[in-house]
């Protein structure tokens, strides 16, 4: 069902450059009843149409975030599905995949439906990733089949990795039978346990317990081996080390069904940021040294990493006010991801949009029956999930002014280039002139 029911009958996006997976062209976009009706230069504006000016802008398929924490149920003081969706819309996202590490975890069809219901009334498509194991305990498989029936295509215990190789192999086999995708938060608990930042020169100097690069890499290597043995499909969440990127590069060249994402903080910040012990810089996987940041950027450039995913992880201010090693890990990301990519990645805009829109859309394979229509291409008949971006406008990040309930953005005070001007969700303009409409 493509009709959102809450948009104007006719919407005209005028004067921009349309970019999607098929290419780039100067064109206006006419939207009627939630679907794209025409894409062409110098379209006539129908009388009574709502007009969104896109002069100097690019008009692209709405962005798709593979990795968002919406905190509902259980941690509504930090974020709700509604506030998270609002932040997503402001960041240009028309779809987000909600991670299952809520309280309680999303490990049943009922839990999935509850979140889908909360998301149905918001300004973005909220899809749900289900847990791989019951309660994310890493002991027993969760009812993947039931959750798949409810529309879940991606499963992960994110927040933690599945520690047992034996259980993970069984998960691969079972998932293969269902045709769903498993995603892994690669972190070996026995190597990383107790750590709060990257283990290295900075952690030694600051006296903070560290998480070595190999804590991530051993699990990446393990899951590649298991994927190879079971002919399964694996998606690696938030890759952060050079070693991990190398492993994925080799796996892909071997033809394995491996995809990977990286978060913006892993290509813009290093572990040196923790020098002042500000917990806003605490995140899992942790910020790494410059050499790893460079490797992630190289991975994004050469196609080893398929998607930029925000890992938007809100934490209420009183939680982040704790000492560094007691504060929960995680950073906001929905409103800054696109601008950070445009500002910091030396790549043509079409490649950046691929990483933020149609490539993540292909990985999550959102069920058209439940909405879908994400990632473009922008052509007559497609669902109007669109984003209008001004690629040269600058703005300065003010954490207190972000739509999230929380403030934990490490980019406060930074001036970024590139800004979302409008976001259209199923034909409804949910962000107009940088302001959210509801």
């Amino acid at each position: 069902m493509a009709d959102s029911g809450s948009g104007p009958a006719v919407l005209m996006i005028r004067g921009g450059t349309v970019i999607d997976a098929t290419g780039e062209r100067t064109a206006d976009v006419l939207v009627r009843q939630g679907r794209v009706e025409a894409v062409d230069a110098d379209l006539a504006t129908p009388r009574g149409a709502t007009v969104l000016e896109a002069d100097g802008c690019v008009v692209v398929p709405g962005l798709v975030d593979l990795h968002t924490h919406l905190r509902q149920p259980g941690r509504e003081e930090s974020e709700t599905v509604e506030t998270g969706a609002r932040a997503a819309s402001l960041g240009g996202f028309t779809a987000v995949v909600a991670m299952p590490n809520t309280e309680p975890a999303i490990d049943s069809a009922e839990a999935v439906r509850n979140v889908l219901e909360l998301g149905a009334k918001t300004t973005a498509e909220v899809a749900v990733a289900g847990a791989i194991t019951v309660g994310r305990n890493g002991e027993r498989l969760a009812p993947l089949g039931e959750m798949a029936e409810a529309g879940v295509t991606l499963f992960t215990d994110d927040g933690a990795g599945v520690q047992s190789a034996g259980l993970m192999r069984r998960a691969f086999e079972y998932a293969g039978g269902l045709g769903v995708t498993l995603a892994q938060h690669c972190e070996d608990g026995s190597l990383a346990g107790g750590g709060a930042m990257h283990e290295g020169a900075w952690s030694s100097r600051l006296g903070i317990p560290g998480m070595p690069a190999e804590a991530e890499e051993v699990m990446v290597a393990r899951d590649i081996a298991l994927a190879r043995a079971t002919r399964g499909r694996i998606h690696f969440l938030h890759l952060s080390t050079a070693g991990s990127v190398d492993l994925v590069r080799r796996a892909k060249s071997d033809g394995l069904a491996v995809t990977a994402e990286a978060a913006p903080h892993h290509f813009t910040l290093t572990d040196a940021c923790t020098a002042g012990y500000d917990p806003v810089f605490r995140v899992n996987p942790p910020l790494r040294p410059q050499a790893d940041v460079d490797a992630v950027k190289a991975g994004l450039a050469d196609g080893t990493i398929d998607a930029i995913a925000t890992d938007h992880a809100p934490h209420a201010p009183e939680l982040k006010d704790l000492p560094f090693d007691q504060a929960p890990p995680g950073m906001l990301g929905l409103q800054t991801a696109l601008s950070l990519a445009l500002t910091e990645l030396d790549m043509p805009i079409q490649r950046i949009l691929a990483l933020l829109s149609w490539q993540p859309a292909a990985i999550v394979r959102l069920d058209p029956a439940h909405g879908g229509g994400q990632g473009g291409p922008i052509e007559p008949g497609s669902v109007a999930n669109l984003c209008v971006i001004d690629p040269v406008a600058t703005w300065t990040v003010d954490p207190a002014a972000l739509a999230s309930r929380s403030r934990n953005s490490p980019f406060g005070g930074r001036t970024l280039r590139g800004r979302v001007r409008h976001t259209v969700f199923r034909g409804e303009p949910v962000v107009v002139d940088t302001e959210v409409q509801r």
Partner: protein
């Protein structure tokens, strides 16, 4: 010469001149401590608070004695009391303290970086780090320097002999805030620092550390060391997990009677306390004249008086030249 810093969070806050200033001022306070009435009115009307999230009666008493000997009013907030429950917002506690009007707050916490965060939140208060996690314990390093300077002859003579002095720091360096402070402190005065520890008890990286050598053979170092500074195996920080057993630790790294006999005639032995007899130091060795452990403790008060004086006696730097 740069002015004395506003806070003392880490030995990195002091350059060699700053360190020397503390040691010289401590001489005056040591004299005060020898009087029948060991009190001066220097900090009368000022309020000093101790905020100890980790229990340590000895260090807290040393600081409180120092403050009281300078006639300051002292407030104690200790771990376990209702205002210092774990998880309660640190920020709220600090704001309460500032609202009361406190001139200096002395903080000890199990988490590295807490004093630094607090220093960022206060406007009119000086913060002294009395030990944060594995990170730093600057007044301990300063009193160690003072004790060694005393043993080297005191005054400028003692100070000059730090150049090229061979200092061995032995034990759990990885988890030790005392070690991190000592390394910076000794190196700042020109000493050559050697670390001796089991490989698992060294930090993951020594990049940028002013250390001359690192080894796992204690015997090799003892014949030439001028100062042997021993660290405790910190069971409460889980250090015991890093070595197969304490017995094996002592066999490899304990200052036993046999090892103490290898020391040079005028070498000295230091330990931040509390000592665990039979583990990092043999009972008999702790009683040797070369072991300056009790001197360290008594010097602690004078050093802390000096630090308080240098931090709080600096209220307005633009004092008139007249008086």
């Amino acid at each position: 010469m740069s002015p004395f810093p506003t806070h003392l969070l880490s030995m990195d806050d002091l350059d060699a001149d700053g360190i020397i200033e503390v040691l010289e001022v401590a001489d005056s306070f040591a004299e005060v401590g020898r009087r029948a009435n060991p009190k001066v009115p220097t900090l009368r009307g000022r309020t000093v608070a101790t905020l100890f999230f980790e229990d340590s009666t000895r260090t807290r008493m040393s600081f409180e004695t120092a403050a009281k000997r300078m006639s300051a009013d002292v407030l104690s907030f200790a771990a376990g009391s209702s205002s210092v429950k774990k998880g309660e917002s640190l920020r709220d506690t600090v704001e309460t303290i500032e609202a009361i009007g406190i001139d200096a707050v002395i903080i000890r916490h199990a988490s590295s970086g807490v004093p630094a965060r607090v220093a960022g939140w206060v406007d009119h208060c000086s913060v002294i780090n009395a030990g944060d996690g594995w990170h730093q314990h600057p007044t301990q390093a300063l009193l160690d320097l003072y004790t060694v300077r005393q043993a080297l002859g005191g005054g400028d003579v003692g100070l000059a002999r730090f150049e090229g002095l061979r200092v061995a720091i032995v034990g759990d360096i990885r988890h030790s805030r005392v070690a991190r402070s000592q390394i910076t402190a000794y190196a700042a005065l020109g000493a050559e620092v050697t670390l001796v520890a089991p490989a698992t008890l060294l930090p993951p990286s020594l990049e940028g550390w002013p250390v001359a050598a690192v080894g796992h053979d204690l015997d090799a170092v003892l014949a030439t060391a001028d100062v042997v500074s021993l660290l405790r195996v910190q069971q409460e920080r889980g250090s015991g997990e890093f070595v197969p057993s304490l017995r094996e630790y002592t066999a490899g790294f304990g200052l036993t009677v046999r090892r103490a006999a290898l020391l040079r005639k005028d070498a000295v032995i230091l330990h931040p306390g509390p000592i665990v007899r039979g583990v990092e130091i043999a009972s008999d060795v702790a009683e040797l004249p070369a072991a300056l452990i009790t001197e360290q403790v008594s010097n602690g008060v004078a050093i802390r008086m000096a630090v308080l004086f240098l931090l709080l006696g600096q209220a307005t730097r633009e004092g008139a030249l007249h008086g």
